[in-house]
């Protein structure tokens, strides 16, 4: 499949597909982070995670419309506000859902699967009723539209660089939160032994609610980033939830580094192969590679070396 390209072309193709893959990587990392901390802490598989992401995308869409119509003066900076609002909206909805639904089902993992799946259907229909079934696009400010000409053949899109920078910031912030803050210590204690965490004085219910909100909020930011690579529709989130599960499992649950590494390898493989093959063949090859590796390493890429 490489036959018809010269070596220089191939280099440029790999570089550009690599950068295109990095936006996908950013969305995957943000989605997987949220899913992984929710699953790690509460054992809840959030089937509605994609819908929380789409909530973030719709918030971004609303912001773009609002700023264009009413505050065109600060339109160039609206994306920052949109991301923050996406985080807050998705996070708040997450906390409400945890309070109303999830906390009653902690001891019944299968039921949480069903309940969050039902929630995803409800949210999809809500989006359809509110925003219509048609997919919507977001107007980007002009400074994010162009690209940096790295060499004659390699162009790097500015919005891609922007999304990656945001992703790196958020990942570092989450890592800092989990490993250096008091709240993070409580989260990790609850993750490892819920009963004992309560018995040393940690309010596990409160930690659960905050964590669920945090995970969903990050999904909202992922939705904001997503508006740059796809158009937003009521069911767009569904396309991402399966890939995100794959990343969490492949990376090894409860390992932040593993999640990042697996998101990177999967998105890069996917993006590079997509150029040479059709999208679905690329997906098949990616999946086969993941299955093969998981057969050799069922625990995922990264695990903690510690006696349990």
């Amino acid at each position: 499949m490489f036959g018809e390209y010269s070596l220089g072309d191939l280099g440029a193709i790999f570089a550009m597909q690599g950068f295109a893959g990095l936006i996908l990587f950013s969305v995957y990392v943000l989605m997987a982070l949220g899913l992984a901390i929710i699953f790690g802490q509460m054992g809840v598989i959030n089937m509605a995670h994609g819908e929380f992401m789409i909530l973030g995308a719709y918030v971004t869409y609303l912001c773009s419309g609002f700023f264009q119509a009413h505050l065109p003066g600060i339109f160039p900076a609206y994306f920052f506000l949109a991301m923050a609002l996406a985080f807050v909206a998705a996070g708040l909805l997450g906390m409400v859902v945890e309070w109303a639904l999830i906390r009653h089902l902690y001891k019944r993992p299968l039921d949480t699967l069903l309940a969050t799946w039902g929630l995803s259907l409800i949210l999809q229909q809500a989006y359809r009723s509110i925003f219509g079934a048609r997919e919507v696009g977001v107007e980007l400010p002009s400074w994010m539209m162009g690209s940096v000409q790295a060499t004659d053949t390699i162009e790097i899109p500015i919005n891609g660089l922007f999304v990656m920078a945001i992703t790196v910031l958020i990942t570092l912030a989450v890592a800092g939160l989990l490993f250096a803050s008091r709240y993070g210590k409580q989260v990790r204690a609850v993750m490892q032994n819920r009963v004992m965490a309560g018995a040393v004085g940690i309010d596990t219910g409160r930690v659960d609610r905050l964590t669920f909100g945090l995970g969903c909020g990050i999904a909202g930011v992922a939705g904001s980033a997503f508006t740059m690579i796809g158009s937003t529709g009521p069911t767009s989130g569904q396309l991402y939830i399966v890939d995100t599960f794959l990343i969490v499992v492949f990376g090894g649950a409860a390992s932040l580094l593993g999640t990042i590494a697996s998101a990177f390898s999967i998105s890069q493989t996917q993006s590079t192969l997509e150029f040479f093959l059709s999208g679905s063949t690329a997906k098949v090859i990616t999946l086969l590679a993941v299955v093969a590796i998981l057969m050799l390493r069922p625990q995922g890429l990264f695990t903690l070396k510690v006696r349990r």
Binding site: R188, A189, Q192, V195, V200, G201, I202, V306, R307, R308
Partner: protein, 247 residues
């Protein structure tokens, strides 16, 4: 069963309010009741050993006191406050602390982080120096993951974590289980030192009679979910208690 001593005999100085007062405590796993009305009072600074064979309700008593298992009936008071309806973490804030059977330290977290989890209710952010002074080995290992410590070190860590919340009553569930004899003796000394320095009350469940006699001011025997025998340390007839413990 017939040798039950009336549980009302006060042990501390007359008039001292009990630090832990349990009356008619019932607890059950599902439909099967495991504790059938436990009465227990512990004076400030007293060490009480709850003895009994496996399956007699020692751990269930501890778990119920800690709020891990809900009480079916009866009341639990800590320093005069009724904690029966509170969740575990609220009981910790009221002054209970728990060292569970099997120690249950957070194995993927460092020694220091493990102790810091105990600081949640006090609001402190640094491990108090006196804890490390009491367990110097933990200071040496503070950067290691808890799961990579030996059994005896994990036990010390679990005790330090419990003490970090500055409890009034410390509950220890079979602390000698799986620990070598020389370390058991040292642990007995440590527990008495903790009591003397901090003036807290200790309830320890045990199967090892020598350890219980070594540290306790009072020995209770639990059998089939009821307290069937009670003696002050000075009056303990080893043979009688040993008969309850023999299989």
């Amino acid at each position: 069963m017939l040798q039950t001593v009336p549980a009302s005999a006060p042990v501390a100085a007359p008039g001292a309010a009990p630090m832990l007062a349990v009356t008619d405590l019932h607890a059950a796993y599902g439909q099967s009741e495991v504790l059938h009305g436990i009465d227990l009072t512990v004076a400030p600074g007293e060490i009480v050993a709850v003895m009994g064979r496996n399956g007699m309700g020692k751990s269930t008593l501890m778990r119920t006191l800690m709020g891990i298992l809900p009480a079916r009936g009866g009341t639990i008071r800590v320093d005069g406050h009724d904690v029966t309806a509170l969740k575990s973490h609220q009981r910790v804030a009221r002054g209970l602390a728990y060292v569970p059977q099997g120690r249950m330290i957070f194995s993927a977290m460092t020694v220091q982080e493990n102790i810091e989890t105990g600081l949640t209710v006090t609001g402190e952010s640094k491990v108090p120096g006196d804890l490390y002074a009491m367990f110097p080995v933990l200071l040496e290992m503070k950067g290691r993951r808890g799961g990579n410590l030996s059994g005896g070190q994990q036990q010390q860590l679990a005790i330090a974590r419990a003490l970090a919340s500055r409890p009034k009553v410390l509950l220890l569930d079979e602390p000698t289980e799986g620990i070598q004899p020389s370390i058991i003796r040292e642990m007995g000394r440590t527990l008495k030192k903790i009591r003397d320095e901090r003036g807290l009350s200790i309830v320890v469940s045990e199967q090892v009679l020598s350890f219980a006699l070594d540290i306790a001011d009072r020995v209770l025997v639990i059998e089939n979910g009821s307290i069937v025998h009670e003696d002050l340390r000075a009056d303990v007839d080893e043979a009688t208690v040993a008969r309850y413990l023999s299989v």
